[in-house]
């Protein structure tokens, strides 16, 4: 498979030890056909890191490096699922939210400065489902995005 690498200190912080470096290198690979999607999303997330203190006019601290790192990591994890482009939003208090609205379905993934993921799933005909988990949880995020994709398939 043709691949392209997108490396960033935000996505993959430096690790000590050659064995960890060697084993983690393939987790950074994104197929070339999805690299545009990821680069666009990563750019939007990284842009949030430039917000100044009090960016919301109500005293919010800047968007935290932890939240940005986790958002990028989860975007990387779902890139292969070819989800639609989410809206990328800064959250008062220093978090990052990825938000999808697809065919009556909604998914909100909020990455908090303390490493917590809070999510909301809205599917037609059911009550909204809310949950939270300590990150990283690539499996959970992939499953949530997969549910969103049900409405976009044939």
């Amino acid at each position: 498979m043709t691949t392209a690498m997108f490396q960033s200190e935000w996505v993959t912080p430096p690790v000590r030890g050659s064995s960890r470096r060697a084993s983690s290198q393939w987790s950074e690979v994104i197929p070339i056909e999805r690299s545009g999607w990821f680069v666009e999303m990563a750019t939007a997330v990284l842009r949030l890191g430039k917000l100044e203190p009090n960016w919301d006019g109500s005293g919010s601290p800047p968007v935290s490096r932890v939240a940005i790192h986790q958002a990028l990591r989860m975007l990387q994890a779902v890139a292969l699922q070819e989800p639609p482009l989410p809206q990328v939003l800064p959250v008062p208090g220093g978090g990052v939210q990825l938000e999808w609205h697809v065919g009556g379905r909604e998914l909100e993934l909020e990455f908090l400065p303390d490493g917590l993921l809070v999510y909301l799933v809205v599917e037609p005909g059911t009550s909204p489902e809310e949950g939270q988990s300590q990150l990283p949880r690539e499996d959970l995020v992939r499953n949530l995005v997969q549910r969103l994709a049900r409405s976009t398939g044939p």
Binding site: D56, G57, S58, S60, P61, L85, Q87, L89, P90, V91, P92, G93, G94, G95, Q97, E99, H101, G103, E106, E108, E110, L112, P113, D114, L116, V118, Y119, L120, V122, P128, E130
Partner: protein
């Protein structure tokens, strides 16, 4: 990060029908498939305190709230909406802003369902022209 403090007591002098204004940043706008623009749910949260700043419409003016923020929009939600989700509506008058109130989530915990409900119930007082997705 998430507050567990006891929410402030509800101010029952604020009627359920009274509009509460929330300032909406340009980056918090969302366009529905119908073309309608509404606030994102994150406009109704603050992970630091669990309290969301709003203004009593009866005591505020658009210029007074948006004056320092010329790019922002203003949305209104009736006090009944947060109360329906067990939020309290507490007066928090400031010397420079007697209209200031806060919406306090139950037990100081965040509630994404309630935040979304408030976003869906919001009506525009002033929507600035803005490119949104």
């Amino acid at each position: 990060m998430l507050s567990t403090m006891t929410p402030r007591p509800d101010d029952n002098s604020i009627n359920n029908e009274e509009d509460l204004w929330r300032r909406i940043l340009p980056g918090w706008l969302h366009r529905e498939p119908t073309g309608e623009v509404r606030p994102s749910s994150i406009a109704f949260r603050d992970v630091r305190s669990g309290e969301v700043s709003v203004h009593r419409a009866t005591l505020a003016t658009v210029d007074g709230v948006l004056g320092p923020y010329p790019a922002d929009s203003l949305a209104a939600v009736e006090a009944a909406v947060p109360r329906a989700h067990r939020y309290t509506v507490a007066s928090d008058p400031q010397p420079e802003d007697p209209s200031h109130c806060v919406l306090c989530s139950p037990d100081g915990r965040r509630n994404k369902k309630a935040e979304r409900a408030m976003a869906l119930a919001a009506r525009w007082v002033l929507l600035r022209p803005e490119i949104v997705r």
